[in-house]
């Protein structure tokens, strides 16, 4: 049991940190522009596909370096020539715009790369077990994923709280007019933040592509859960996004590992139903089966008891 617990924790950590790489960009963009970017997970997918193509010529490291750059540039261009114009028509128009963009990117990916799963592999450098616990290997690549995510969190946190750029960004979140009056180019700041946010999603894609497989549905699979993370953490809060990502990752991982469910619960209560009962499906439900739904349940609970999210202070 203990070994399952240890590995469930590690797995939850990896999933959680991957979610964080996506959620950090999303929450940053939201706190700046007040727009929920529905296409965020699509930039993650673009990152994986660009890295797949680039890695054929430049190797994995070339992909890791250039793919997020390309994705960031695309993101910045989307902000400059798309969102900024749509912005004048209000938030609903922005939402619809990013929503449409998500479809557009998915179709474009299928058009250029096809619908097959892509053979995008992790570098041979990491083809060894970082450590072996209880006869199970923990691959070096997963350790690398954890390291990159921690690095990103550290760098983001430092830039936002300790650097001059961070101060300007934080100021333009709350008082864009004042910052503009002080002579800063606020639209440029917005564009850069959007670019950096999407580039972070790109990094997540580059890193997750080899592990979670690179295929056209990868954005859809991750898209909704990232929103859950951002809302649970509190819209616009970076530490909140980190806590919520880890929470969601660990919750899912533990739920899958736990082999308990309704039969055990009923047994404890001394009840039993035969298999012909109309609600048989409900009585035989177990935790691993509903694991992927649990974050949504958590979302509902958080929205009921703390509508601003765990760390959010923004009243909508």
């Amino acid at each position: 049991m203990f070994e399952v617990f240890v590995f469930a924790t590690l797995n939850g950590l990896v999933t959680g940190l991957l979610l964080f790489m996506l959620a950090s960009g999303l929450t940053l963009i939201f706190s700046m522009m007040g727009v929920l970017n529905f296409a965020h997970a699509s930039f993650y997918m673009l990152g994986a596909y660009f890295a797949y193509t680039l890695s054929a010529y430049l190797g994995f490291w070339g992909g890791l370096l250039f793919a997020p750059l390309i994705v960031g540039c695309i993101g910045a261009a989307v902000e400059r020539y798309g969102l900024r114009r749509v912005h004048q028509s209000g938030h609903v128009a922005e939402l619809v715009f990013t929503f449409g963009l998500a479809f557009l990117i998915e179709e474009a990916v299928q058009f250029f790369w096809g619908r097959d799963t892509k053979n995008y592999q992790s570098p041979e450098l990491f083809d060894f077990a970082l450590f072996t616990l209880f006869g199970q290997e923990f691959s070096a690549y997963r350790g690398f994923m954890i390291a990159i995510a921690c690095l990103i969190f550290g760098a983001l946190y430092f830039v936002l709280t300790r650097s001059r750029v961070g101060i300007i960004i934080q100021a333009s979140i709350n008082h864009p007019q004042t910052v503009a009056n002080l002579g800063h180019n606020v639209p440029l700041i917005f564009m850069c933040v959007f670019g950096v946010g999407t580039a972070l999603a790109g990094v997540a894609g580059v890193i997750a592509g080899p592990v979670l497989t690179t295929f056209p549905g990868m954005a859809t699979v991750l898209g909704s859960i990232v929103f859950v993370v951002v809302v649970i953490g509190g819209l616009g809060s970076l530490p909140g996004a980190l806590i919520a990502s880890l929470l969601v990752g660990l919750l899912q991982s533990y739920a899958i590992a736990a082999d308990v469910g309704m039969p055990e619960l009923l047994h404890l209560l001394g009840l039993s139903f035969d298999s012909s009962h109309p609600l048989n499906d409900l009585w035989t439900l177990n935790l691993p089966q509903i694991a992927p739904v649990l974050p949504y349940l958590l979302l509902v609970l958080v929205l009921i008891f703390k509508p601003t999210g765990l760390m959010g202070n923004r009243e909508q």
């Binding site: 797995n11 199970q136 859809t220």
Partner: protein, 456 residues
Amino acid sequence: MTLILGLRRPRSKHHLSKHHLSKHHQSKPHLNVVQAAARQSLTRLASLSIGALVCAFSFSAATAQEPVRLGFMDPLSGTFASVGTSGLNVLEFAADYFYNSKGGILGGRMIEIVPLDNKQSPTETQLQFRRAVSEELRIIFQGNSSAVANTLNQTISKHNRRNAGQEVLQINYAAVDPILTNEECSFWHFRFDAHAVMKLEVLTDFIAMNDELSSVYIIGQDYSFGQVVADNTIRLLGEKRGDIEIVGNEFHPIGQVKDFTPYVTKIASSGADAVVTGNFGADMVSLARSIIDSGLDVPIYTFYAAYDGITATLGADGKDRIRLIHTDRANPLASDERRDFYRAFKAKHPNSDITQSRLANALMMVVQAMEQSQSTDPYDIAVQLEDMRFTSIAGDELWMRGEDHQLFQPLYISKQTDEGIEFDADNSGFGLLTEYEVGTSETITEHSCRMRRPRR
């Protein structure tokens, strides 16, 4: 061009509505412009279409007749798009290769495949079925997801009861839930794949032959097919090898799992010697990838772990490890005819494979039924298909049982390898090598179908 320009103005809606009352009279002449432009282009259109009609008539008199249109309903977008698209490629190619390039069927009619994207959702399937009916598609090929096949089966049964003379026929080439040819069997449904229990009979025979196995872990998608696989693997292994312990029976939501590592952790700690799964598409490749990445060295017995990028992604890691039960003889291919078909397909689609050659079998049997009855009416085709015996281009003897509309064909178990591979998958150098085969007559199973036949 004038029409487009004329229409452009009303787009500034804010502007119009804001000053709607005061500017009302001003917008009137503008409307007239639009009408005039529309009228103008209508006349142009009319003259054009008359010309086109004249052309068409003179053309059709010389050569073409109305094509035979077949619907192909499968996911062509979304998470499982790769499976649907590769099926469409095979069906379209088979129609061109066997018939259209040789002058068509029924005395010169071409076959036209009409794609219908159901996104693998039962709701979307209903919508697409309505579309098929309104476009007068009377024969629908469908394969992916038993849940979708069940929906389509019920929708078609209801439709056919209510619309005599406009019946629709379901050609199921891949949905393997046994109930489709048992409890829920229908006169209007024909299955060209072996159903899950037939395949599991063979697969468990094969697993039982491996004396080194003492425990098996079952993991699958949480829907009808996944559950059929789990229940029957447990039952059949219990009958054949009581000493093999089932150390896990896990379901996960279909197409929702991001990372399979937590599941693999459980598989590893259960100490299983082998994994059995009915997963397909992205769920299959992610699961296998996670198993390999965790350093778990166990054989994986599957239904769908090949092609569409799966073979290339697993590559050397999957060698001698991935096995699948399927209806297509893999390497070595049986006949030159089959080889030529494969080569011609590769020439046209270099980045694709013939993933499901039973689509070609299904098409050829349907065409034979059309030729025999000299009709494209679903009822006539259905009557001809019942108890049809057919030799496929691979030389396999096929039999469509009339009582439940289940096709019987040889079944094969193949493994992923790069040795002795003449035709690889995903251009990866790796492909499937057949290890074990069972003849048509040995796959015949009982059925519980009580079919309601329409009266004619």
